[in-house]
Amino acid sequence: MIAKTAKEILLPLLFTQLFIFSVAAAQTSGKPRKCIMIFGAHADDVDENAGGTLAKYVAMGYEGIYVCAINNLDGCNLERTPWYDKGPNFTISNSPHKYRVDALETSQIREEEAKAAAAVYPAIPIFLNYKEPTFFIGRKIVYYGSPEYDAFDPPGRPLIPIATYMDSEVDSVYELLKKYQPEIVITHTLGGEKMDHGNTAYLIYLAFKKAMDNHVPVGKLWMVVNGWFLDKEAQRTGRGKPDVHIDVKAYLKTKYTALNKHISQNGGFGRDYVMGNETQPKEVIEEFITVLDNTK
């Protein structure tokens, strides 16, 4: 009787121990769980492009990786409020001017905002730290290649378009893919709507291709539906037609909460600034094009 009771007690315990051991072994094998990686050019692009999808997959148990490619030396205006364009009475200080924030400070502000946004999902923030091609010195815009840009000597790795030609930089993204072995990678569109976005997409594309060539178990590379994919030729041939439709209605709140963390971009009102407090129907579904598929 005692032996039977002991068996009844010990066997489940043994199985439990085996289960825990197998989970622990899986976690120490370098691939703890399924992973989704979103690469954005700038600090809020991850949230803008795929925040709902990231939230949904994290809720399903995926590990979320939130990658910012560029160090955001530009793009910070602390006078900005949702009503800036209505005049000085709607700025923080009643000033009629926009106050461009200096480059170093902008980089710090936007990185901290991105970390706060990543924590909403929650996802692991990673910063690739590629240089922004423009920034402000006082109120003067400074362009890459100008004497002022060189004199400022901003911190950061090469510009994204240069990085796409550098094996070392492709390798740095490849190493990330190798480390996390994501089932899904999302980034901008090749040749996208902004140069930095398109070049970021190309860098990720090259690294993903390398991962496939080297038999790294990455899954699919999805790109956002915009940029040249939507030109007439693309529409005619079907190249621009999204094949992935993610219903993110239940995760819009998470997405907008994350967007709201980018205070310098929207005066702290986030998506409300763009949406006028109303959910746009198109935002309920996030759409992507499968560009590379390593699962077939």
Partner: protein, 311 residues
């Protein structure tokens, strides 16, 4: 025709001269030194500066990742530091302060720490690493040291003011995103008033804020005003702060390209254009410090030089 042009030119020149003279009321530039470069005495985007009891001027040479020391006339004495993360190295340093023994403290902004040196630049120690803990920092900006050698640090992205002993041991902190973060988005420079209160430049709200040592708001000073008609007591992105031995407050009024002097109660005493001309794309006074001789020193961040004024 040539004669008419000459007369008009003379009139314009004399008018400009009188305007410049008017704008410089209250201060005379004694000397100016520095230019862009990485040699001794040259600067790349100088940030804050401090003056020791023996009238030496210590300048944070931000984009050269070093500190330079000069005498009161701008003669180069020595420099230390280079880019890096090791002891005595910097990653875009920002603020600077000097204690009663002449030791120099530098906020090593992008290394998230404050380093302490002797007056000769010998490394003594540091406090801080990236994080939210008491002895951690997220981008330290301005620093100040009170009469008891308590070190005050603006911990910019933890939205608080942290206090440390002269031995770099954490003492206390005050502030939050609500109290100094968003409303005071974000404080850049800090100084100690004659009464021992803490004064911060509330840059994006275009005003100053005075707090008690423990963080109780005492008063706010100033309002937004920009352009040639900006009145005394109006600011456009006030940045650098200094308090003289007499208790007067000096502010670099960055986008008005001028220096303002207030008494300890915040009443205006004097103001002058930093370069004598109102030109909004070249000159930006940023750091400011006062010497025991009553002179005022500023860094012109974008013109890579130091100005010294006598009042």
């Amino acid at each position: 025709m040539k004669k008419h042009i000459y007369i008009i030119s003379t009139l314009v020149a004399s008018t400009l001269t009188s305007l410049v003279a008017l704008s410089q009321t209250g201060a005379v530039m004694v000397t100016k030194w520095g230019e862009f470069g990485d040699k001794p005495g040259q600067f790349k985007f100088p940030a804050m500066l401090a003056v020791s009891k023996d009238s030496n001027v210590y300048v944070v040479d931000q984009h050269n990742h070093r500190v330079q020391k000069f005498d009161a006339n701008g003669n180069f004495i020595q420099m230390w530091g280079k880019f890096g993360t090791g002891a005595g190295e910097f990653n875009y340093p920002y603020g600077i302060g000097i204690d009663s023994k002449g030791n120099v403290y530098v906020s090593d902004m992008n290394n998230n720490r404050v380093q302490k040196f002797s007056s000769k630049g010998d490394y003594i120690g540091s406090v801080g690493s990236y994080g939210t803990g008491d002895a951690q920092l997220k981008y330290p900006y301005g620093i100040a040291i009170d009469n008891n050698d308590v070190l005050y640090v603006i911990d910019a992205f933890n939205y608080c003011i942290k206090k440390f002993t002269a031995d770099l041991k954490f003492l206390s902190k005050w502030g939050s995103a609500e109290s100094i973060g968003i409303k005071l988005y974000m404080p850049h420079e800090i100084a100690i008033t004659k009464e021992g209160n803490v004064i911060l430049s509330d840059r994006q709200n275009h005003r100053l804020a005075i707090f008690s040592k423990d963080g109780t708001l005492v008063k706010r000073i100033g309002e937004y005003g920009e352009g040639k008609d900006a009145k005394a007591g109006q600011f456009s992105e006030p940045h650098g702060l200094a308090v003289s031995a007499a208790g007067d407050i000096y502010i670099t009024d960055r986008y008005n390209f001028r220096i303002q002097e207030l008494d300890g109660n915040g009443a205006s005493k004097a103001q002058w254009l930093a370069t004598g001309i109102f030109e909004d794309d070249k000159y930006f006074p940023l750091g400011i410090a006062t010497g025991s001789d009553g002179c005022v020193y500023i860094t012109d961040h974008y013109a890579h030089c130091i100005h010294k004024y006598k009042l």
